[in-house]
Amino acid sequence: MRKHQGLTILIMCCCLGLLSGCWDVVELNKRAIVSGIGVDWKEEEKEYLVSFQTVIADEISGKAGRGATPTSVYKASGKSVVEAMRNASRKVPRIISLAHTGLIVISDRVAREGIIDLFDYLDRDSDIRLNAEVLIATQGQTAEDVVSAMTPIGKITAFALEQKIDLTSGQLGENFRIEVDDVIRGLLTPGGGPLVNGVMIEGSAEKASKMETLKNAKVEGLAVISQMAVFKGDRLVSWLNADESRGTVWIRNKMKITPIHLKLLDQGGEISLEVMRSKTRLLADLEDPANPIIHIHVEPNFSIREVNSAIDLRNPATMKLLEDAASREVIRIMELAVRKSKKVNSDILGFGQAVERSDPSAWRKMKNRWDQLFPRVQVKYHVKPVIRNSQMRDRSVLYKIHNQ
């Protein structure tokens, strides 16, 4: 062993060189971390205008901050996102790092032209993860405005918007999380298309991007989640309204909590219920292959939240009455969604998959003409509502007043 000592040391020194780390290492201080991407369309050049919302770490950690905005938006144009990113290298002093991108905002204009090329990039790229949230900027606003907006709670708009979506899907039920892979699966749906959440600037887009807006208690511009956008194939065709969104969420079995407002005819009172939990199942009936029937089974659990009526909530018969009213309301909401999706002829509700699940061989035959079949699909609703509780009181004050 002794005679090889010199050789051993030499070999070990050589190995050190290999162990020092990655060939492709890029230190953190050489990276510009992008939190959100906005994609707009430049009409004159026929190019994408891509806005990168980059995180300024100094401002977030606090100590070395200059009191500037926590994020900064760099814009660059190009025929593709990659080209825009490379063009941005003239403006950004560091390597644009997309690994932490949590949000992709696409303008209404781009979405109407088709998003398939964009999503091929997002799907393929090794840095961008499939968990990135996708949003469509409302008509008339640009994606750039959205990624430039400041946010009062939290520091980075992109991450704040992600949280807003999660929150509103859990609290209101007019949206649900749509990530890159959800969009891609949507693109591949025969006769359908993706369903994407919308985003809009409430107030002034100009002021929303300024630091000053955060100095007011009343913010003058705020990025908020709006209704969902419907695609046919890879093109945006329409926006849903509130009830249509809610119906769609319900049929897609993503409903968690949503308020429901009932007007009672005979007593003239009003009652607000809240869905606590709901389960939806789609079943297809293909007895007549030319006219498929879709059965929507919904089992919502309600809780009574607000009673502006003198009805007796201790009486089980009243509960039955309420349940019937609630089930009519649920059907009304879902019908709106079905009508809308038939009108734009885009199977965003997953009826095709329901048919495929119940009869794969029949589906294979009708897959190619699902476009023609879908608007003629009959839908049957089966709602089994249960009113679980009425929170901390049963009878209302009004009941007491009426019965004194």
Binding site: D123, S126, D127, R129, E356, R357, P360, R364
Partner: protein, 380 residues
Amino acid sequence: MEKVKISPFQFFSILVLFQFGTTLVVNLGLEAGRDAWIAVLIGTVIGMLIFSLNAYLYTAFPDKLPVEYYRLLLGKYVGSLVGLVYAVLYMFTAARDLVDGGLLVMASAALRETPLLIVNLLMIMAVAYVLHQGLEVLARTATIFLAIMFMIGVFSGIVILFSGIIDLQLLLPVMGEGFQPILESVLKKNIHFPFGELICATAIFPAVNHTKNGVKAGLLAILVTGVILAHVSLITISVLGADITERAVFPLLTMMGKVEISEFIERTQILIVMVLIIGVFFKISLYYYAALISSSILFKIPYRKLIYPYALVILGLSIILARSYSEHLMKGGAYLYTVFPFYSIGLPLLLVIICLIRKAILGRRSGSAPGPGSGPASGS
């Protein structure tokens, strides 16, 4: 040949890791779409049958290396030729797996500037070093890494489950396209990859210290791997859907990228890169060892002397084999179901038949029926 002994459990570990190799991360049962898992399970059963062929030869000649019983069964010259062909085949496959590993590591870790040569060099150096230490060291390494893989598997399973990304509806309908795509996938891919590849396990059979338990361990290894692989493809499809899984270069990596638990546990893909590197390491090791030990018997050169020249050959081959990943996959796919089955199924079957005939003749000659193993061994 040196007298190394490994226990059935160590044998089991090597085989499991060997089969996980590239299989766990790349596409399995492409043609079967969302029923890939069924194809894998069918492949497992057939894989066990193929393994039984090799296991039969092993019980017939428990102390002999493949090359030795090729000579015995096929005659000196033909046997040596077959042994040589196998050695070349093993070396070629080792090089292919090295490319697989290198390209996968480069793509998954987003190495843009590192040359493939460097990645491959590091890998083959590690493999060569372990083989220089001997088969026993490889076997002991395998048990440690099996434990690590197990922990990664359990952890991944838990985080996938709790991040709520599994959508079982994506798996339905089961066998919607009928049975044909599954059958096609089984025939073209699932039998040979990874189960048919176990032909190279014959090279370490003689080192196992307990014949009967060795065979059992081998069969168990195939069963366990098959079930885990089917399970993994089931989960991947239920997370990504059949379409994305089919287009993904590494579905498992993409799937793990979806994992996110309350913005705290995320980016767990790095575990998959680890699984990949461990698996590829054992895959290359076993092929490399099989090539080494066969050639050392053929040319009567101690096998340690062959390690470094062979490492160079494998490294060189890995560089010239394919220019791009798609070319590599295309060639690999074709090789897998045209050339490879002949060696993994055809030749072992032939040998088993010869062996049976031989035994019948020998049995008639000696007048008594020798049990499997004792007859041919005493005849040599």
